[in-house]
């Protein structure tokens, strides 16, 4: 692999995505929604810049110009700057939501990343270690499977051997946002419908951190292993705490699995909201608090799930639900998406601190989250910051009021 290899830059893109590149009017309307731009002021991350550069690369490697003028070398610095920009993006999709021509950027950026990986230019920083960590330990953090969730499961939940309902904790939840996973399991137990889980050593990465950083090589194996294991347990509905996992399972697993999945994926907030509506679950205690809910990008823009978490929170007696200025499908990223949290840590902290600031200004008692990546960056952003707000996961909060 080499950055100047003669393959066209279009090889990872579908016809629809080439159409999207051509559709960009360079109007710049999406810029004001980009969280990375907001905290860095760096124009190179902006969608029109990324699209403009990538179109230039295509022209040089496969356009009319190459055909007529025998192509040309692409400036190595430009390639490197572009790679940094496309990996610094959190893939939050806010630009696509605001895009005046409807470009699906949350889907486009990962494919541009894939191309840079194929050319040996990406991924960046610690992202390079993800495949090795996943191969060795089953999770992108390189942590032992023993630490995954056995610490609370045995004492607090009854997990069935086989059931139609499955729960997938996900790596970020299991290692970096443990109270979330505990909250999920407590809520599921409270509903009473039997649910099953894979043992910690079998519950490996869903593949999202590899997919989003353009490293596809392990994906087929992971997907087949997980999908086969859940199928063997008779799972028909797989509940996840992480919106990225739900996206990955629903959108991409079928292609790596080679056929339709034998189950469907759901976010925990959907399942619990349904249980509350059907009176299979009830809230016993009141909570005299002002809560502000942050929409995770892959839940709101990725899956269109914005009302279920709000419905859950609005059912808590005494709780007052506040809104961020930017909410629902227009929400601002927490800063940790797209596997950028560890590599571009300063950006992630600065972006999440914008949410902390607004929550403080609105006098929220607690900032409610529903994604383990948001949860993980929240802790880091609060550390040493002069403004403080309590952060809680939605299921963690719910487990306080049963």
């Amino acid at each position: 692999m080499n950055s100047q290899d003669s393959f066209s830059f279009t090889r990872c893109l579908s016809g629809g995505q080439l159409l999207e590149l051509d559709a960009c009017t360079q109007c710049g309307e999406c810029l004001k929604y980009c969280p990375v731009q907001e905290v860095t002021g760096d124009r190179s991350v902006s969608p029109p810049e990324k699209i403009r550069h990538f179109k230039e690369f295509i022209k040089k490697t496969s356009g009319l110009r190459r055909w007529l003028f025998a192509g040309g070398r692409i400036d190595e610095n430009l390639l490197q700057d572009f790679t940094k920009a496309v990996f610094e993006c959190t893939t939050c999709g806010a630009c696509g939501q605001a895009c005046t021509v409807g470009i699906h950027t949350q889907r486009l950026w990962p494919m541009l990343r894939r191309e840079m990986v194929k050319r040996g230019l990406g991924p960046v920083g610690q992202q390079k270690e993800t495949p090795e960590a996943v191969s060795r330990t089953g999770n992108p953090y390189g942590k032992p499977s023993g630490e995954r969730f056995s610490w609370f499961l045995a004492s607090e939940a009854k997990v069935a051997e086989k059931a139609k309902l499955g729960y997938y904790a996900g790596c970020t939840g299991a290692y970096e946002a443990k109270p979330m996973v505990r909250g999920d399991v407590l809520a599921l137990s409270r509903v009473g419908e039997p649910f099953t889980m894979l043992p910690p050593e079998e519950e490996v990465c869903c593949g999202f951190p590899l997919f989003i950083t353009g490293q596809f090589e392990l994906l087929e194996g992971l997907v087949k292993r997980l999908a086969g294991a859940y199928a063997a347990k008779g799972v028909e509905t797989l509940i996840c705490s992480c919106p990225c996992c739900v996206n990955m399972i629903s959108r991409d697993w079928p292609s790596f699995y080679g056929r339709r999945l034998p189950f469907r994926a759901m976010h925990i907030s959907q399942y619990i909201d349904r249980a509350l509506r059907d009176s299979r679950l009830s809230i016993a205690k009141a909570l005299d608090e002002r809560l502000i809910y942050h929409d995770p990008c892959y839940l709101s823009r990725g899956l269109g799930i914005t009302e279920e978490p709000r419905d859950i929170l609005s059912r808590i007696p005494g709780a007052k639900l506040l809104e961020f200025e930017r909410n629902r499908t227009n929400s601002r990223c927490c800063g940790s998406g797209g596997a950028a949290r560890k590599v571009f840590r300063d950006n992630a902290l600065a972006i999440f601190r914008l949410a902390i600031n607004e929550a403080c200004e609105k006098k929220a008692d607690r900032l409610v989250l529903s994604c383990p990546a948001c949860y993980s960056v929240a802790g880091a952003a609060l550390e040493g910051y002069d403004r403080q707000v309590d952060v809680v996961d939605i299921m963690e909060l719910l487990s306080e009021v049963f």
Partner: protein, 245 residues
């Protein structure tokens, strides 16, 4: 007075620009028709189409509803620009078609009025963008197009108001430039542009239009499709994307 050689040069330049436009459009069209990527992953869910989505997407395109959602101040200018530009384009069809279709004749007064509105709408857009961006986020290509259209439309309005070029000569020249056989036979149009009133503004207008056509953005054709795709995506996520069993 315009030399005969220059007239030929102009016609040949026009022909080359038209040809490059057609080739460029065809190449892009072929790339859009490329199937899914040979890479493994799906490229997003494939929600159903349906007449409802087509209708909604058509309204999204006609009323630039996606822009309306994010920037209403700019939307006013952009919508007026797009509508007046369309009317002006229809008015211009009389120079390219023989016989001129009835609807083109019927649209002449609307097109004339739109011709006066067009430069103002562009000026408004440029001011709004420059004010909003305060020099920070200038996208050169976008400004180049806006400035180009502004100059072309201003010259167009001036020709309608003050310079009155000979429309018969203009039409003959346009038909000549569209007909390679006539061009290469060496026969000049019967009423060449030479010496006609408004010769200079017309030439500037025409050359600028050729330049813009050469750099014409692909989004003109691509955007309606991406807007339709976005509408399908939005509709597919309404309510519960992954419903409970």
């Amino acid at each position: 007075m315009m030399a005969e050689g220059f007239l030929y040069f102009l016609a040949i330049a026009a022909l080359l620009v038209y040809a490059s436009f057609i080739i460029r459009t065809a190449v892009h069209l072929a790339s859009w028709l490329k199937g899914p990527s040979p890479e493994k992953p799906g490229h997003g869910q494939s929600p159903g189409g349906g007449n409802k989505n087509i209708r909604a997407a058509a309204l999204d395109v006609i009323f630039l509803r996606r822009l309306f959602r994010v920037n209403r101040v700019l939307w006013v200018g952009e919508w007026v620009f797009h509508v007046s530009f369309l009317l002006v384009l229809i008015r211009h069809l009389r120079y390219f078609l023989t016989p001129v279709p009835q609807f083109v004749w019927q649209m002449q007064s609307a097109g004339r009025a739109a011709g006066y509105v067009l430069p103002f709408s562009l000026l408004y857009i440029i001011i709004i963008k420059a004010a909003a961006n305060r020099g920070r986020q200038m996208f050169a290509y976008n400004y180049f197009l806006l400035a180009g259209f502004f100059l072309i439309s201003s010259l167009g309005a001036l020709m309608t108001l003050y310079f009155y070029p000979d429309v018969v000569a203009v039409k003959e020249f346009m038909m000549f430039s569209l007909d390679p056989r006539a061009l290469f036979s060496g026969a000049l149009p019967e009423s060449p542009l030479a010496g006609m009133s408004g010769e200079v503004p017309f030439l500037a207008h025409f050359l600028l239009a050729l330049t813009i056509l050469f750099y014409l953005p692909t989004h003109i054709f691509a955007a309606p499709f991406t807007i339709y795709k976005a509408r399908r995506r939005d509709e597919s996520m309404k309510g519960n994307f992954y419903p409970s069993p």
